[in-house]
Symmetry: C2
Subunit: 202 residues, 2 copies
DNA sequence: TTGACTATGTATAACGT
DNA sequence: TACGTTATACATAGTCA
C-alpha cells in the first residue's frame, strides 16, 4: 500500500532500494518494449546498477542501435588509446616503403651473390663485376691486415718471453741452460711463426 | 478516456502513433530518470523514431555510459572500417619483422660490398671472401656467355649476308665484282667481327 | 504540433510470506 | 532473496481545444 507520493531521491534503505531497482527496471524495459512495438521505434536502454552490474534492453540488436547512435552523433565510442584510421594509413605507407626497400636490397644482394643475372645487360654485368672485384680487394686487404696484426702480436709476445728469459738467467747468475736450443741463432722470429700448421717441432 | 485495454501492437493511425510516441517517450525518460535517482543507477536510453529521428536520455553522460557498456561487453561500437587495436598490433609486429629483415640484408650487403668489416673475425672474412670469389666467378662466366652469344649472332648474320651475296652474283651471271675484296681468303669470319669499335672499313 | 482533460489501465511502495 | 497482495500514485488513450 502506498502511503503517499514518494520523493524522487535516493532510497537510503539498501534492501528497499534493491527491490525498487529490480521492479522499476523491469517496468522500464516493459515500457521500452511497448513503445518500440506501438510506435515502430528502435529503442535501447542500458542500466548499470549501483553495484556495477549491467542490464540492457533493446527492441532490436543493441549493437546496431548503438552504432546507429554513433553514426548519428558522429562519434566513436572507443577506448582512448584506440588507433585512428589516419594512424593506420601512416603505418601502411611505412610498410609499403619497407617492402620496397626489402625488394631492392634483395635484388642487389642476389646480384652481388651472382644470382638472378639472367636479365642483366652486359653493361650491368660489368658494373657488378667491378663492384665485386672492388669488394674482393677490400676483403682481402682486411684479411691481410688481420693476419699481420696477429703476427705482430705473436712476435711481441715472443720478444717479451725472450726478455724474461734473459732477465731470469741473469738473476740466477748462470749460463742459461735447459732452455730450448736454437733460440739464439734465430734472430728473425718471423720465420719461427707462421699462420697455418707449424713446420715441425725440434 | 480509455475505452479498455490496448493491444501492444503497432498503432496503424499515423497521427495517433506519433502522439503516443511522444507521450510514451517522455514517460519512458521520466521513468528512467526516476530509476537512476531512486536507486543510484546509471541509466541511458536511446530511441530512434520511425522517421529516424534520435531521442536519447542518460542519467549522466551518455557517452560514458556507452563506453562503459562497450568495455563491459568487450566490444567496440565503431564503423566497419575502423581498425581494432589487435589489427594494429599485427601490423606493428609485421613491421618489426620487416625492420629486422632490412637490417639483416643491409649488413649482408655491406659485407658483400666490403664495408663494415671492422668487427669481422678472420673466419668470417674468409667466408665472405669465398662467397665474393664465387660470385665473381659466376658473374664473369655470365659475361663471357653473353659475349659469346653476341659473337655467335653476328657470325650468323655475316654468314647470311655472304650467302645472299653469292646468290645474287649467281643470278646476275657474272663474276662477282664490286664486292669488298678479301672476303674470299678469309674463311674465319671471327677475325672480322669483334666487340667494340670496328678495325676499319675497306 | 502541442497541450489540457479525464477515465481508466498500469506500475509500484509497503507489506506479507 | 524473491514472489504475492493491495492500495495508491502514475501513465496514458482518446478526445477536444
Amino acid at each position: 500500500m502506498v502511503r503517499g507520493k514518494i520523493q524522487i531521491k535516493k532510497i537510503e534503505n539498501t534492501t528497499s532500494r534493491q527491490v525498487t531497482f529490480s521492479k522499476r527496471r523491469s517496468g522500464l524495459f516493459k515500457k521500452a518494449h511497448e513503445l518500440s512495438v506501438l510506435c515502430d521505434a528502435q529503442v535501447a536502454a542500458i542500466i548499470f546498477s549501483q553495484k556495477g552490474r549491467l542490464y540492457d534492453f533493446a527492441s532490436s540488436d543493441i549493437q546496431k542501435t548503438i552504432k546507429r547512435y554513433a553514426e548519428y552523433k558522429g562519434e566513436y565510442f572507443v577506448a582512448e588509446s584506440h588507433p585512428t584510421e589516419q594512424y593506420v594509413q601512416g603505418l601502411k605507407k611505412e610498410m609499403v616503403t619497407m617492402v620496397e626497400k626489402i625488394e631492392m636490397l634483395e635484388v642487389h644482394n642476389q646480384k652481388l651473390m651472382g644470382r638472378s643475372l639472367a636479365f642483366c645487360s652486359l653493361k650491368e654485368l660489368q658494373e657488378i663485376a667491378t663492384q665485386i672485384e672492388k669488394s674482393l680487394h677490400i676483403v682481402r686487404s682486411r684479411k691481410a691486415k688481420l693476419y699481420e696484426d696477429e703476427v705482430e702480436k705473436l712476435k711481441a709476445k715472443e720478444r717479451e718471453l725472450k726478455d724474461e728469459r734473459v732477465r731470469l738467467s741473469g738473476r740466477v747468475g748462470e749460463e742459461p741452460s735447459g732452455m730450448p736450443s736454437g733460440s739464439k741463432e734465430k734472430e728473425d722470429v718471423e720465420t719461427d711463426l707462421s699462420i697455418g700448421f707449424p713446420k715441425s717441432r725440434s
